[in-house]
Symmetry: C2
Subunit: 385 residues, 2 copies
């Protein structure tokens, strides 16, 4: 129970419109890369965990299909679903299975195809991730919820549209350097300002994009990790909390209480503070979400998130490098894969393998993965040896 | 890690067409009963885990909705999905979270509404739980798969239609005595034989029925369980295994390799054999499935399952009492709730609280929960102090 759980293998496919592959093929692509990275054979795995939101796929019973396609039958598998945080929930249950001594080595695969369904079908599904009985029926789609958050942040703290777009500009700047990203091009403030309205004040360049994709990490108990890998990254802080689905019932609209609680748990478990974090992947489903994340995670004070990005504090070389893989905004957001992709990216950074996006002296990193409109949040603190 | 995990609270709603309640209301009904049974307050819980198949509900992000409705915000939650074994997967991850020392007391809620969708919508979803790319497209619905299993069992072992119907007759006999069951009436051999064809040789009275419903169990670490409850039932053996989705790739059609493997794991972990089991809930989605379960679990030899029921060995007073709550056949099968309902029933039996369905001297019990067409199987061995 006092033993650590380490990440010994990393794999990631290209995010985008992947009409070349089924969801199980996407899973295999990431899984094969992670196995090779770990330098182990399939037979050394004890189980797999799938992070995905099942209803986007024509194939049901996704864990079973993936398990067979990866050649992992008859080992155990299970799938976790908590909306856009499904990948982090998968990692958390795998981490618990190892801490419990039930399994020694577990593959976690986040995988999602979002382009099998038509856009109206996807919109209908997404509209139901908010509280259906009392809120969604009144038109609160995802962008509408985050538009409420943005409007209130502007009102309370004077956050500006330029500051929000600066989040998108940063994330596209780094996304352009990430071979796995959906959008590999920089954007300008003029272009962002000229983009179409979605839900006032949010415009197209405030919003992340749906994508197909998969990522895989392989976890091991401390003893096996030390045997197998010279570059283990440790999952030392694991926070998980919830907030009410109904935003009506929340104390305010400028922070996610689940994120604040999950961060506090993760920091405490890892014995670190926000100031120790050198690199982070946060859930920028909309630009305002990244600004709120800075504040909820304690990277800056409440209300100062807009200034924090305007002063380039979250670029490489700033106080803490955030979403230097492109974030959801530029990398794309295959919802079940996103949490695993975040952990992949931070582990790559801590291993010093992020190439031209490498954050110098990255020894402690963080992921922040939000489900729905903040009804779930998972925060991890990762550390290298 | 050597510590046990105990069941300290039990709650169960009525299975059926529950147009009186939303899925979160069904969850609450079972949860409130379990809390009262445990004699604890909500605040003593550390987390909840939801077992459900999300795509049957109009509301997405089910765990978040349930968490709020149960008053458990901001505690952690997650949902597990492995088709009809989703409830058992939820129990398994909750059990691991306690064994890991991450949580001390966790509520597991299996909940499902299946009557929100139209019958064609449900059939379309269920048809996709088999392997879509190479099998479902050729017409292998659920009854068709189990019809293949039945046909082969008849061919290899001389199992008879009467023997299969005897499973249904037994399960209705006990279901009639279960206030939570969907079908509370006995059936006769003549009526079963006269029922409509579904997929030859299976007829209507070979098949379980969709239902709405929820069940809840509360798990605690050994120390807390001993403090809180005088009637803890221990989860001493927890098996989980997979089989290929494609039945084409399986070694045969008369057993589920996942069930054999999961049973071996659970027996080994609990230090018992099949002969020690006094009462079991097994996954009788079709009558042939219960006969296969007898064999896969080692209650009788391979091929002798038909004779085993014909000789009433699985009635109370026989070798091992099986599905004396009515089973899926008579109790109904709200897919995400079923696994939790099984554990609820066996725990009730081990506590000696099963009333007129009580199995004498029930000290060791078992659950066998199959996902899909056997791509997943979870087996638990439960023991009372």
């Amino acid at each position: 129970m006092t033993k650590r759980v380490g990440i010994i293998g990393l794999g990631h496919g290209v995010f985008g419109r992947r009409s070349d592959a089924t969801v199980q093929e996407l899973a295999f692509e990431a899984f094969a890369a992670a196995l090779e990275d770990a330098g182990i054979e399939r037979k050394e795995l004890d189980a797999s965990v799938i992070g995905s939101v099942p209803e986007y796929h024509k194939q049901r019973s996704l864990a079973g299909v993936v398990q067979e396609y990866l050649g992992l039958v008859p080992k155990p598998t299970w799938l976790t679903e908590v909306a856009c945080a499904s990948g982090s929930a998968a990692i958390r249950t795998a981490w618990m299975s190892i801490k419990a001594g039930v399994h020694d080595i577990v593959a976690v695969i986040g995988c999602q195809k979002m382009t099998e369904l038509s856009t109206p079908e996807i919109l209908a599904l997404m509209g139901r991730v908010g509280e259906v009985q009392w809120e969604s029926v009144f038109g609160t789609t995802f962008p509408a919820y985050y538009a409420l958050f943005a409007q209130r942040h502007i009102h309370e703290f004077g956050t500006t549209r330029e500051q929000m777009f600066q989040v998108a500009i940063k994330n596209h700047f780094y996304g352009a350097k990430n071979p796995n990203a959906l959008f590999r091009k920089e954007i300008t403030m003029d272009k962002a300002k000229a983009s179409a309205q979605v839900a006032s004040p949010l415009q197209v360049y405030d919003c992340c994009a749906n994508a197909d994709g998969a990522a895989c990490i392989i976890l091991a108990c401390e003893d096996r990790a030390r045997e197998i890998s010279q570059k283990t990254v440790w999952l030392d802080g694991m926070g998980c909390a919830t907030a009410s689905m109904s935003v009506l019932k929340r104390p305010g609209l400028t922070s996610l209480p689940s994120a604040e609680a999950a961060a506090a748990q993760a920091y405490r478990m890892a014995g670190v503070t926000a100031d120790d974090i050198k690199v982070a992947d946060v859930h920028d489903c909309f630009t305002i979400a990244e600004i709120m994340a800075y504040e909820d995670l304690g990277f800056c004070k409440k209300g100062e998130g807009g200034r924090f990005i305007a002063e380039r504090k979250t670029y490489i070389g700033g106080k803490v490098a955030v979403n230097v893989d492109g974030g959801l905004k530029a990398k794309g957001h295959p919802i079940g894969a996103t949490g695993v992709s975040m952990t992949y990216e931070i582990a790559k950074q801590l291993r010093g393998e992020a190439g031209e996006r490498q954050v110098p002296n990255a020894d402690i990193g963080l992921t922040h993965n939000v489900g729905g409109i903040g009804q779930y949040c998972f925060v991890q603190v990762l550390r290298r040896d």
